[in-house]
Amino acid sequence: MRADAAVAWQIARKDALAELRGRSAVGSTLFFAALVLLLFGFALGPDSRRLTEAAPGLLWLAIVFGGLLTVSRLHQLEADDGALEELARYPVERHAIYAGKALAGFGAMVVLGAVLLPIVALLYGIDLAGAWAPLTATLLLGALGFAAVGTFYAGVTVRMRAREVMLPLLMLPVIAPLLLASVKATAAALGADPFDGFWSWLQLLAAFDVVMLVAGGLTYGQLLDE
């Protein structure tokens, strides 16, 4: 167990290093996600009530767009120069490899969410004071579920020629419950009573995460073999 955790940490650390050094990719993802928020802000106009109502959905829309690019890129690192095949040949447990890739995806998603949340607050005139704790919990659980599913499907599509098209096509139907729960939990957190209905959605998110992490850990190894 400790050895598996060490392997997962090494893989996540390596992915984070590579991601940070490929700064243009990080920058373009953040810019793209922020642009989505900005354009919708303009489209919705200055009506503060409409902006507040739309904010949770648009925040998660931007996170999903940015997240799709991120999880795809984390696997693309492995596809270059046969590194995925090399990674699969190390004498380590396959679920540890999955955990490492998912941890890297989770970290990237949390950073993305943490950058986008203040942008949403700024553009849509939302007061985040008092909602930090429920928003953070929603962001963490939403990011974890997205990374769990995204890592698996990025592994499915990494050897495909049309992987950029196939990844969202395969993944988005599966994460529909996650998106619904994340948007509802975010809306509840930003509402007058931050905890009205919030816990139900948070429980759904937690259950989704557990199921997807277990399923991914059990099946990801099959994707590494040809």
Binding site: A3, A6, V7, Q10, I11, K14, L17, A18, R21, G22, L77, D80, D81, G82, A83, E85, E86, L87, A88, R89, Y90, P91, V92, E93, D225, E226
Partner: protein, 255 residues
């Protein structure tokens, strides 16, 4: 009372590599079409054959990167398809691709590999990485990102990754590719070192004369079939299929 002496039956260790009717299909094409081969422990064996002969496919199956479609393959008596985890701990493989991360430095690439190979102590990792970088002549480039490396430097670094441990079976697919004269001499030195240390080495190289100078024996593949073996430490299996028509058209190039 007469004493009874019980003699233990001599236990012969299994061969380093044993395949039986090993076949691998890619779609309708047979890249390997029933290869039965035995390689004894501690031998350096050259795999010969033209492009598309099935050399890479055979090496990748032994390295657990490909599953066999039919037949069996054993490494040190361990079934490659049934217990790939146990085989991975015994095998080191250098394929056509180098398997490096462009945005990491040479040092970081080797450290990552060392950690995944089970080294946990930071000082041990640092010492191993430094030793390997010196051995492959990249000590001056330790902190440079691999993205800026030439093809030959990348090949040296990939070769260096094999030196982080001494596995019982080393599989090399075109190890001389992209290397200059010094680099090719490095491969020769590494082959000699592994051989001296008792590791079994299978080398597929188009520099067949160069490898033949060091090899104990050789096996020739053609069209996915094992057509001939020679020298010491290598034998065709009992059910070697003669060089007849392959099951289907062989693939144009190894995958």
């Amino acid at each position: 009372m007469p004493q009874t002496t019980i003699y233990a039956a001599p236990r012969t260790p299994p061969p380093a590599v044993a395949t039986h009717e090993l076949a691998r299909l890619f779609g309708r094409n047979a890249a390997l079409a029933g290869v039965s081969l035995r390689v004894d422990r501690g031998r350096l064996i050259a795999l010969r054959g033209p492009n598309g002969a099935g050399k890479t496919t055979l090496l990748r199956i032994l390295a657990t990167s490909l599953r066999p479609s039919f037949g069996t393959a054993y490494v040190d008596g361990v079934d490659v398809a049934a217990r790939p985890d146990a085989v991975r701990a015994r095998v080191a493989y250098l394929g056509h691709a180098n398997g490096l991360y462009d945005d990491l430095t040479a040092e970081e690439n080797l450290s990552f590999a060392a950690r995944l190979l089970g080294m946990t102590d930071a000082a041990e990792v640092a010492e191993a990485v430094s030793r390997v970088l010196t051995e492959v002549g990249l000590e001056a480039d330790a902190t440079r990102r691999v993205r800026g490396f030439s093809a030959g430097m990348r090949r040296r670094l990939a070769l260096g990754r094999l030196l982080l441990r001494i596995p019982s079976l080393i599989l090399l697919d075109e190890p001389h590719a992209a290397l200059d004269a010094d680099g090719q001499a490095l491969v020769d030195r590494l082959l000699a070192t592994w051989h001296e240390r008792g590791a079994t080495v299978l080398v597929a190289s188009h520099q067949s004369e160069r490898v033949a100078r060091q090899a104990d024996g050789w096996a020739r593949l053609d069209g996915g079939l094992l057509t001939d073996v020679g020298g010491e430490g290598v034998a065709a299996g009992e059910s070697m299929i003669p060089a007849a028509a392959p099951l289907t058209t062989p693939v144009a190039a190894d995958r």
